[in-house]
Amino acid sequence: MKDMDLEVHYVTRVEGHGNIYVNVKKGVIERCEWAIPEAPRFFEAMVVGRQWNELHHITSRICGICSIGHTLASLKATEAAMGIQLGDQDLKLRKLALHAENMQSHILHLGFLVLPDLMGVGSVIPLASSHPEEVKTVLRLHKLANEMSNLICGRTTHPQRLIPGGFAKLPTIKELARLRAKLKESIPDLQAVAGLIKKLASKLPDFNRETEFIALTKKEEYALYDGDLASTDTGKAPIGEYLSHTNEYIIPISTAKRAKHVRDSYMVGALARFNLNYDKLSPMAKQAAALFGLKPVCHNPFMNNIAQLVETVHTVEDSIKLIDEIEAVGMQMQPDYYRPDIKVKAGRGIGAVEVPRGILFHDYMYNQRGVCTKANCIIPTNQNHANIELDMKALLPKILDKPEKEIELNLEMLVRAYDPCISCSTHYVNVHFV
């Protein structure tokens, strides 16, 4: 009978610091935990006392990888509180901003963080010499996503152009058309990445554990920028009811909060969106899903990687469509250094956005001077922590007869499949077998 003390301190190739603790005595699992030791950053306290036109700038700094998503959730919350409506063109541009970030983040995760596991190496660095063409393809797609962020947001990380009520500066229609041409040219690269991952997909463990999935949903489109709240267990609900879904709680071993709804845990992210909104995916994205036999509702968390790939295809196709639509009605330009006229008022506003790792909520209270008096931010990775740990507990008995190194790798791959963003959730990943 096996004894094992496994302690993975700071799981690598994830964003932030997290630890895995596993303790097995005579074949009996005594401990199997997922803990976050990251230094907490207290954003919800830091924004109190700050002005309505600064909150998106501050909360963008919660996470470098999903800074566009945080900025958008923040702006939506502020705009809801102040009763600000956006024009159709601004909405389309914001959707492009979100697509750019999802593509950047998904490609970074698949190409830099997941691919090394599938190819049996410790990082992408050796792949640069052993598989230069594949690495260059990934880099090209990553660069394109960043060019798109730059064009729409004025910067890739911590965007500048996105402001309450719209944009401080707009791309020109010529720039958008050039971007569209590049997006079209990227399709063979996407196919190459899909082909490469397809060849390696058998390395993803065949592991299923039934859980609840939560994401935004919308009748008209694959919901990312807005929509209603949807659950595979309880159906649709308005965004205003989000607190009854997230139910955050604190455990002493982690600086990151956790969440649960009707079960002990739920999952958010690409797989949750795929499971809830498959019908709304673009045609090529559905083809990509079919290549991997991925169908809703899929309960294998490792398939979140594949759902990210499917979403990347959707992003490219939908971005082309959005630019077509902007072009068709004619791009409306605005004065330089544009600042929408906003009447500051007191109130509460909630902003919910699908960011790379799942649904993100920002919820603010403002006084009549536009000063924030209360803030609540619920981060996708926090919503996933409990689900990750329950997956670990379900997976471990199935792989207990394997060598310790392989168990460690499988548990790390499980964590990585969620693409956790711990900076966000406070900020860290480690595995401890104790």
Binding site: A39, V124, I250, R339
Partner: protein, 245 residues
């Protein structure tokens, strides 16, 4: 032999390390010059044998000081990357609040479980050899600092305000547009990137070494802005620097 480099992060958003990935093809060129031996965000391998340590994030609790000191012991050169590590950055917003209240606001009655102290740049804990400013740091400046260090030179970082670059870029001054801007006292080197995109300078690169406070006050008076406006904006990024002054 190629110099060995390592990346570490403390309290921050990892947006600066992301700029390494955002180097795109230039990463391959960088890998030709240095050997990366530790970078938790992208590699499983880890070695404590390195020449240059790049550190992102602020130090926000006592228990992180030992890790920083160990990095200092292992490295020949320590480089602070990004605002949080270089100047304390946005994390220092919480330094103006009662830290017990801050913990309670976020974690409720379990706040006491979560250790925290005033956010500070890493040079408040260990000596630092070079700085890459910015939130996030710019890729170009990072490469420039790396090149200088590899050549054994001191990196040249501007010590004049963002206004100089902003004027060169022919932006309309934020004050003339009725907005408050901290570009008058903020260290240049970003090519006034935020103003170029239609907004203001938020001060993410920190104060220049000798900010001209009198001239800044003149600007405030000229445009009818109050000292309170100025102090509020200073606090976004200058918290630690202001406390030290």
């Amino acid at each position: 032999m190629k110099p060995k480099v390592a990346f570490f992060d403390f309290a921050g958003c990892e947006g600066d390390q992301l700029q390494i990935a955002n180097l795109e093809e230039e990463i391959l060129a960088l890998l030709g010059q240095v050997e990366i031996v530790a970078f938790r965000e992208v590699m499983k391998e880890h070695s404590d044998d390195y020449d240059i340590a790049f550190v992102e994030g602020s130090c926000t609790r006592l228990l992180d000081e030992d890790r920083l000191k160990q990095i200092r012991k292992n490295a020949k050169l320590v480089v602070a990357i990004g605002s949080c590590a270089a100047i304390g950055g946005i994390n220092s917003l919480k330094n103006y609040k009662d830290l017990d209240d801050v913990r309670k606001t976020v974690y409720g009655d379990q706040g006491k479980l979560f250790d925290t102290y005033a956010a500070r740049p890493i040079d408040a804990v260990i000596p630092v050899d070079a700085y890459v400013y910015g939130c996030p740091m710019t890729k170009d400046e990072f490469l420039q600092v790396v090149k200088s260090l590899l050549l054994g030179k001191r990196p040249e970082i501007p010590n004049y305000p963002v206004c100089v670059e902003c004027k060169k870029n022919e932006n309309i001054c934020a004050f003339d547009r009725g907005q408050y801007c901290v570009g008058t006292v903020t260290r240049a080197g970003c090519n006034s990137c935020c103003v170029n995109e239609g907004t203001i300078c938020w001060g993410c690169r920190g104060l220049v070494d000798n900010p001209n406070e009198n001239s800044h006050k003149e600007v405030l008076i000229k445009y009818g802005q109050t000292v309170d406006d100025a102090i509020a904006k200073f606090r976004l990024y200058f918290g630690w620097q202001e406390a030290k002054r």
